[in-house]
């Protein structure tokens, strides 16, 4: 099987997953009648407003009732409630897949985005994406850099005190929920010590107006973002250490490293030239995958910090039952993840000559 076939196959599987996610999300919301109840509430509200305006212009009550009923029917037709759910969601799915994400109906979504209502779903996502990158992706990148530097060193000193300390640290932080540490640190460092802000939502202003005064805004953003970043780095550094260490350990036992050792090559040289080269594919996999999935935002962690990123946007969209935002965001999150997966497949083949399926 050639490289091209392998990649084509993977691409198809990824594309299927992408479409499936959007369709499944739509089916879940349509088949359970989730969207119908929302539309009906909306129609009810509009019909009542219409009724009030009619009553004020002295129209006989029977006539009002008739007009309101007709108005309700008209609205139901506009929202497509007279048709079965799959006919309502068909166009919606196709629009989403073609990046025609539509307009959000929720005030809360506009509030998280930090712009006046109503907001286009695409705009809301583009506004929240950089905030998630600042908080979570930066934290993951910091972890990756530290772990890639320290991991091989501890793998070479396995069994020593420092190795044990780092493995225990990994086990401990692996067990701690990051959002719980967030709650503790918010109390200790923000409320008690007053070092960091208590309301993280205010970062919106500085990020949205970043280019007006980059220097000052950068400092302000740093003030808001440091606590979330510190929290995430503390928790995730442990598992990063452990993964990199395990990968390097597997390579260290391989014959070609033994040969290099037997040749009397200096240890530093072996680490950088032999071990890291071979350990690169799995390590790169880890880096890219965690960066890609971090874009989805840590919904719970963002919510604990009240950080206006993609995770909070998704949660707010679900809370306010805003179907266009839910669909659009699910689509974009999966798309980013899947593109990262595909890049990975390509890199895997490029980096490790042994991988040829």
């Amino acid at each position: 099987m050639g490289v091209g076939t392998v990649l084509a196959r993977r691409a198809i599987a990824l594309a299927v997953a992408l479409v499936l996610v959007v369709v499944l999300t739509a089916v879940i919301m349509g088949a359970t009648g989730y969207d119908k109840t929302i539309w009906q509430a909306l129609i009810h509200e509009q019909a009542r407003a219409y009724q009030m305006s009619l009553m004020q212009s002295h129209i006989p009550p029977e006539k009002v009732r008739e007009l309101v009923a007709a108005y309700k029917e008209k609205l139901a037709k506009i929202y497509g409630l007279d048709k079965p759910w799959y006919q309502r969601f068909g166009p919606l799915v196709i629009n989403t897949l073609t990046f025609n994400l539509g307009i959000s109906e929720s005030y809360d979504v506009a509030d998280v985005a930090g712009v006046p209502y109503p907001v286009r779903v695409g705009d809301a996502i583009m506004l929240c994406l950089p905030r998630t990158i600042i908080m979570i992706t930066v934290a993951q990148a910091i972890c990756a850099v530290i772990a890639l530097y320290v991991g091989p060193l501890i793998a070479y000193r396995r069994g020593t005190l420092i190795d044990r300390v780092i493995v225990s640290y990994a086990a401990l932080t692996n067990a701690i929920p990051v959002w719980w540490l967030g709650m503790l640190l918010i109390y200790l460092l923000s409320y008690r010590a007053g070092i960091f802000p208590t309301d993280f939502r205010s970062v919106i202003a500085y990020i949205n107006a970043f280019w007006k005064d980059p220097a000052t805004n950068f400092v302000n953003i740093l003030y808001y973002a440091s606590l979330p970043i510190i929290t995430i780095v503390i928790v995730f550094l442990g598992s990063w250490f452990y993964t990199v260490r395990a990968m390097v350990l597997r390579i260290v036992k391989e014959d070609f490293v033994m040969v290099a050792k037997a040749k009397g090559l200096p240890e530093k040289y072996i680490v950088s030239k032999h071990v890291l080269r071979a350990a690169a594919p799995p390590v790169v996999t880890n880096v890219i995958l965690s960066l890609a999935s971090s874009l989805g935002g840590y919904i719970i962690t963002e919510s604990v910090f009240n950080w206006p990123g993609m995770g909070t946007l998704y949660w707010v969209a679900i809370r306010s039952a805003d179907i266009p935002t839910i669909l659009g965001l699910t689509y974009m999150l999966t798309l980013v993840y899947i593109i990262a997966r595909f890049i990975l497949e390509v890199l895997y083949i490029l980096l490790d000559p042994r991988v040829r399926y």
């Binding site: 993977r10 599987a13 990824l14 299927v16 997953a17 992408l18 499936l20 996610v21 499944l24 999300t25 879940i28 919301m29 359970t32 989730y34 396995r158 069994g159 086990a171 401990l172 692996n174 067990a175 701690i176 929920p177 959002w179 719980w180 709650m183 503790l184 918010i186 109390y187 409320y191 395990a246 350990l249 597997r250 036992k253 999935s293 989805g296 919904i299 719970i300 919510s303 604990v304 998704y314 949660w315 679900i318 809370r319 839910i326 965001l329 699910t330 999150l333 999966t334 993840y337 899947i338 997966r341």
Partner: protein
């Protein structure tokens, strides 16, 4: 091999059980030889033991009790654990005095049943409330008509001033047919009454205005008038005597009006773990959280491990179209971002089914990784000579899979199972903290309540559930690490 000649089903299962027991013994011995394994195993045993205790001791309708504010009325609200007093914190103690029968009975115009309790205020703090709780109150009947009961309570302060804190006439429902009122009656101190009593007896009608919200503080303090209309309260330490009186019509023939009478001085600290903002005992919720957490974790882990094990083995063993289909399915499932999907599904599920949906979704989405590993292992095992030999004897596919291939993989599957136990526990906790209700009192729910109330400063409320969550996952990570070193010799340090 004489036992095998006795060929009978019971003998066979007994042999099998013995062999499983032997393997288990060897495993445990090996696990114990690692420091991590030792700690993990001890923690696991503790978790299981506590879960059993919780299941045995807690009432079956605890779920509803937990969400019912009425049940927690005589508990202090947002109170730290009792042991903080030993650290020098100024928190008034919580004291419950229980009576099976009245302290004294006086007969005159009324039959007066008297209960006397004592309370020591030994810190610079005020109790939150005084609550009278009567269980199984006897219904007085005069000429076949239910007569009212008068309930009065007094507090005699260290400065010899007696303040009436409760004066209420209790009209029992006229159609009460049973001799006892089965629901416990609970009465809190009457704050308006206390305020008027205090202005008459202590402030002697001076112009100061008292706020009924602070009635308890006044009741337990030395009061001074400041600037004519204000008062300054400082805790009055010493012995307090609390008297409860039940007035029955004197002609009724009752010697004990209540099966149980409780005088509760609601303090400012409670139990081993304190209470939350609704007065609920956090220790109870955490205790009940043990079996729920273990059940969620184990059911999800076992189900997804079994699916992964069988799908992986079948995929590799049969190959061809089956393999292709299953591998693509794993690809697709593995590429779906789980958390957003889970949140959406749980949000549209009715509250009663949410916990089950969380578990189901995690099972459906988390078997893929193991299936890939199992597949690659099966591919090499399939080519072994003994599998070929089994096939040559005429063993069927199912037999070869179940007897020759899967047993080889089980150790890896066990390691993967142990590692995956915490994920469901943490997912449940995370979703609770996010704000998705599911009605069960879990560790996550306790944390969620703390987050909703915004009281991060109540450390006894925020820290213990998080520590338990961390300990639970630590247990399985440590155990998993030990098992992994046993099944993957390359990871051994010795």
């Amino acid at each position: 091999m004489s036992s095998s000649s006795r060929s009978g089903a019971p003998a066979l299962t007994e042999k099998k059980l013995k062999s499983i027991g032997r393997t288990l013994k060897i495993w445990i011995k090996e696990i114990l030889s690692y420091g991590t394994g030792k700690v993990g195993l001890v923690l696991l045993c503790a978790f299981v033991a506590i879960s059993i205790v919780a299941l045995v001791t807690l009432p079956p309708d605890y779920r509803y009790m937990w969400n019912n504010p009425k049940y927690w009325q005589d508990y202090p609200q947002l109170a730290p654990p009792e042991w903080v007093r030993a650290l020098g914190y100024q928190n008034a103690k919580h004291e419950v005095t229980t009576f099976d029968s009245p302290t004294s009975i006086k007969t005159g115009n009324f039959k007066i049943f008297k209960y006397v309790a004592y309370y020591d205020l030994d810190v610079r703090d005020y109790p939150q409330d005084i609550v009278v709780k009567l269980q199984g109150v006897k219904v007085p009947r005069v000429n076949n008509v239910v007569a009212p009961i008068i309930i009065k309570a007094y507090v005699e302060r260290p400065d010899r001033v007696t303040i009436k804190v409760l004066d209420q006439t209790l009209y029992l429902p006229p159609n009460t047919t049973v001799a006892y009122v089965t629901e416990p009656l609970m009465l809190s101190a009457d704050r308006n009454l206390i305020v008027s009593e205090i202005s008459a007896k202590i402030l002697k009608g001076a112009g100061a205005t008292l706020n009924p919200v602070l009635a308890m503080n006044y009741l337990f303090s030395k009061l001074e008038t400041v600037n004519v209309t204000g008062v300054k309260a400082t805790p009055l330490e010493g012995h307090y005597k609390i008297t409860l009186e039940l007035y029955y019509p004197s002609i009724v023939k009752i010697s004990n009006p209540a099966k149980k009478a409780l005088i509760v001085v609601v303090g400012d600290c409670y139990g081993y773990m304190g209470t939350d903002n609704r007065g609920r005992d956090i220790a109870q919720a955490l205790l009940y959280g043990f079996p729920v957490a273990l059940a969620i974790g184990f059911i999800t882990a076992i189900a997804s491990t079994l699916i992964g094990l069988f799908v992986g083995a079948i995929s590799a063993y049969y190959g061809g179209l089956v393999d292709e289909f299953l591998q693509r399915l794993i690809d697709v499932i593995g590429n779906i971002p789980l958390l957003p999907f889970l949140i959406l599904l749980v949000d549209i599920t009715p509250v009663d089914l949410r916990l089950q949906v969380i578990m189901l979704v995690l099972i459906v989405f988390s078997w893929g990784g193991l299936a890939i590993v199992v597949r690659s292992m099966t591919l090499s095992i399939k080519e072994e000579a003994y599998v070929e030999a089994a096939r040559a004897i005429g063993a069927g596919n199912a037999r070869i899979l179940l007897r020759h291939i899967i047993p080889q993989i089980v150790p890896y599957a066990v390691a993967s199972l142990v590692f995956s136990v915490p994920s469901a526990i943490l997912s449940e906790a995370g979703l609770s903290v996010l704000g998705l209700e599911h009605g069960w009192p879990t560790w996550g729910k306790v944390l969620a309540a703390a987050r909703m109330s915004g009281r991060y400063d109540a450390w006894w409320w925020v820290i213990p559930p998080g520590v338990l969550l961390a300990l639970a996952s630590l247990t399985f990570v440590l155990l998993g690490m030990a098992i992994e070193t046993i099944v993957e010799p390359r990871l051994r340090t010795r």
